[in-house]
């Protein structure tokens, strides 16, 4: 049985500033992240650090979908999505209790406005 958690946010961008994304699967959990921007698969891996999503004017109106699939090693799982380069830096951390060996999927949806 796989547990899933979804979150949804909006991120105000600035026309001529580059927006960067970082994703951390925390609590020492083993996992993999996929980043999709308006249907385009941008990057996948065990961690995403300062990945450039593009200029604000180019991504405004688009939707970012960050999916992290993980196996809990400890009693918590978490997924942290950070964006910089917009009107202000923003970090969203979702965390939920788990048991070691649980399969958990986090989906974070961000609309750029």
């Amino acid at each position: 049985m796989t547990a899933s958690f979804a979150s949804s946010h909006q991120y105000p961008v600035v026309d001529d500033a580059t927006v960067s994304l970082s994703v951390t699967i925390g609590q020492g959990a083993l996992g993999s992240t996929l980043v999709i921007l308006d249907g385009d698969h941008l990057v996948a891996g065990t961690g995403v650090k300062n990945f450039s999503l593009g200029l604000g004017q180019d991504i405004r109106g688009k939707t970012l979908v960050v999916t992290s699939s993980m196996v809990a090693i400890n009693a918590l799982t978490s997924n942290t999505v950070s964006l910089t380069g917009g009107a202000s830096a923003q970090t969203w951390t979702e965390q939920h209790p788990a048991s070691a060996g649980d399969n958990v999927v986090y989906v974070c949806v961000v609309d750029f406005i």
Binding site: L34, I36, G101
Partner: protein, 465 residues
Amino acid sequence: MRIRKFPVLALATTLGSLAHRAHAEDDTPKLNSLLTPDSPAFVILGVSPTTIQRPTTPKTVAASLLSAFSSHGRTLVPNYAIEVAPYWIYSHPEKSWNDVAKNSFATPLQTLSVSMATSANAAPASDTMSAASASIAPAGAPRAALGLRTTLITGEVDQVALDKCIKELAKQADATGTEVAAKIADWKGARKSQLSDLFAKAWQAGRKAGLPTPTTETAASAPVLPKGTFPPPVPKADKDRQTTQAEFNELWAKLWVEGWNAGFVASGSTGAPPPPPAAEPAPSLPSDTIDSMTKAAVSAAPTVDAKGCLKAATSREGFVLDAAAATALSFPAGSVNEGKLSTYSVWTTASYLTRNFSALALARLIRDNLDVPHQHSTGLDLGARPIVAVDRFGISVEGVYRVPLTSATSKHQYRVDLAADVELYDGQWFSITGGHDFADGSDWSKFFAIANFKGAFGAGPSVNP
């Protein structure tokens, strides 16, 4: 690359004995019992609690600790057991797998576990230097123990097994993310299409209203939504649908007016556009939410062998060094104010693990009966075991040497045995052990004559490590 685990005698059956047990086998240290324990407090108390509290937050830890005391707070509740990983009771969203697990030299705090337990009576710890404390301490005197365990050197992960797991997780993330993104795109596309149709309709109506003569003429080029017009985001959950519908309704009404006005201007008419007729009501949004999209996508995504992943993530190879310490206090008067230090012990186990071979060396120092006058004992146990394991077969030799450092237990004790394991079918093992337990004065020439053989059917980890 990981060492095969062979079974402990989960269900032991004595097949035979070539000779009598010349020496009290139960008093002789067994290597498995000397390994650095996962829960040293339970081991030093000699208890196997059926219920172990494993709180995972500071609040639940505090609540659990309070429950260890009676209501007036002066006596301990018997049969209490708790095990906590202090580092992990606090959230560490910044600690990724790579931060924690791929460092061979673990931060001792990250691998630290603390165990505490109480017992109703003065039962001796298993395989302590002496069982005297059980008989000398007042019957029913409770004992309490505190233990710490950590891994100082974690070895390496099994990269092959880990890569397989990461691949499975990536597939799951890919299938889930792709499906959710597609559904969101569909949702947004449908809303955008509805808004575009509305805007075009309003534009046409405005244009017609601006033309000097009423006409059925339509514009050759369809107007597009004003730049920067985006449908509202997909509602996150059912509770957000009403808000999203309200946002959509508002945008609907706004675009109707904007379309009307733009069409009126496009007609070439001068002057202010007249108020538009009432717009038709905005359509109801579908019941999809990001939650529902995610759940559907996850259930359709490839599954992950989570238990296999946990095993891959926690198994180690190469050099591993574990250490533990525990102490026990007795409370002859029952009050927590009158506790006496009765025992303490320190363990360390060094292992070298590969797929087909492993070796370990261990040492345990124990001081016992400290609460019993003239019965203090101190002993040092040393042990070693190499294991060769190929496919379903394993063979190991183990030796333990106990050095009494004080006179309460005067004899040197040794144990040497040879064990063979074969996996009959998945998880079921047959084991044979032959060996010799002896102490000072044993006749070495009788070593083979008094060997015991045991067979066992059972599952589980075994000739550890």
